[in-house]
Symmetry: C2
Subunit: 206 residues, 2 copies
DNA sequence: TAGATTGTTAATCGATTAACAATC
DNA sequence: TAGATTGTTAATCGATTAACAATC
């Protein structure tokens, strides 16, 4: 096993390998086949997998089942992750209802908002609670993942509240860079930035 | 002006520089200050900007107004981009209602769905139309950007329909890699992949 | 054994950073 | 002039790819 530091970009590729394997009905799969399915190069497929162990056999390829369970374990999907959502506006409610979000071992089990009009709403069997109840509900619950779908101005405060109550992984939809202590990871999904990337591409073409 | 090829990663950073500048009330801003605001290194700030021209003055910094309008133009935000959305389910409806999505010169002006229950719905002053009306509505309209919020199975077909009708920039929320002809750009926003990145991080910590 | 394909090394490619001459 | 800061070069760092010995 090569124990070099794993580049961050490898992880999302693992997710894509995993999806490709799920679709494969064969018992063995080669880096060549995974390459066809994912459009990453065969070299890259082998290199990426080799960061985590020796899963294949020269001359044969990878056993589909072995690869499937190995990646599942590497990605930490061999368990259920409870998720808390803060901000039950349009986007937050959509995520609560979004089936694809629940799959793969993630489950939103609490939702919070500060607006009286949102509190008490029941979406997809989750009742929106008052943000002031957050500490009581999640502290010590073992919940580690939060989704932030509040307006920009509120995001940093919410992040701090979450972290103070045991959260250390955040999916942030507010278009601000969060200031975080070491040990806490946040990934930003910033729709305006993506649209602007498209606009840049178009602006040069037209 | 250094005319080297602009790395793709520079573009989202430009968006962040732009936001930082919007918040700045000063007439001049240095790479050092932009670095503080964005957490990219001063070198990187200067390098990134230099891909597009000489916007600053040695010893002084960058004129805020010059930088603001320059980046706006580079990103193609000096005009309005009409956007078409396909898939008026939970996520699609949320994006239609989402204020942050409309800002910065993007405007969703048409929405389509194939389900009778969605057709006719009015969300944020956009009426959802039957997908079969799409060609008649958008062909020749000059609309270049589409947002895809349909289920995975439908995404590829929708993409082809859109491209056949003049779209060449796609923001795709369906968790599939789209097969696209040259000249068409798609950016994928894949919530499961992001959650899995968080799970990977947590799995190694706990 | 012959053919196939891994895991890994070395070479290449690309992006970031440090350093500094140019210049305001 | 002295101090500040850009734009750019060269050095560094990191990721991808090509090639191939090992081995099934």
């Amino acid at each position: 096993m090569s124990r070099r530091k794993v580049p961050q970009v490898v992880i999302p590729r693992l997710s894509l390998y995993y999806r490709a394997i799920l679709e494969s009905r064969k018992e063995l799969v080669s880096s060549e086949e995974l390459s066809k399915l994912t459009r990453f190069s065969p070299s890259q497929v082998r290199r990426d997998l080799a960061y985590f162990g020796q899963f294949g056999r020269p001359g044969m390829g990878y056993k589909t089942e072995v690869l499937k369970s190995s990646i599942l374990k590497i990605l930490g999907l061999d368990r259920e992750w409870k998720v808390v959502l803060v901000g039950a506006g349009n986007l937050g409610s959509a995520l609560l209802s979004y089936k694809g979000f629940l799959s793969q071992g993630f489950r939103i089990c609490h939702a919070f908002d500060s607006r009286p009009v949102k509190i008490g709403k029941r979406i997809n069997s989750v009742t929106v609670k008052d943000i002031r109840e957050l500490p009581g509900v999640i502290k010590g619950s073992g919940i580690k993942i939060a989704v932030i779908t509040v307006p920009s101005e509120a995001a940093q405060g919410v992040a701090q509240l979450l972290i103070a109550n045991g959260i250390n992984a955040i999916l942030n939809f507010a278009p601000v860079r969060l200031n975080l202590p070491r040990g806490v990871t946040a990934l930003n999904i910033d729709l305006s930035i993506e649209l602007e990337r498209l606009a840049y591409f178009l602006a040069r073409t037209y």
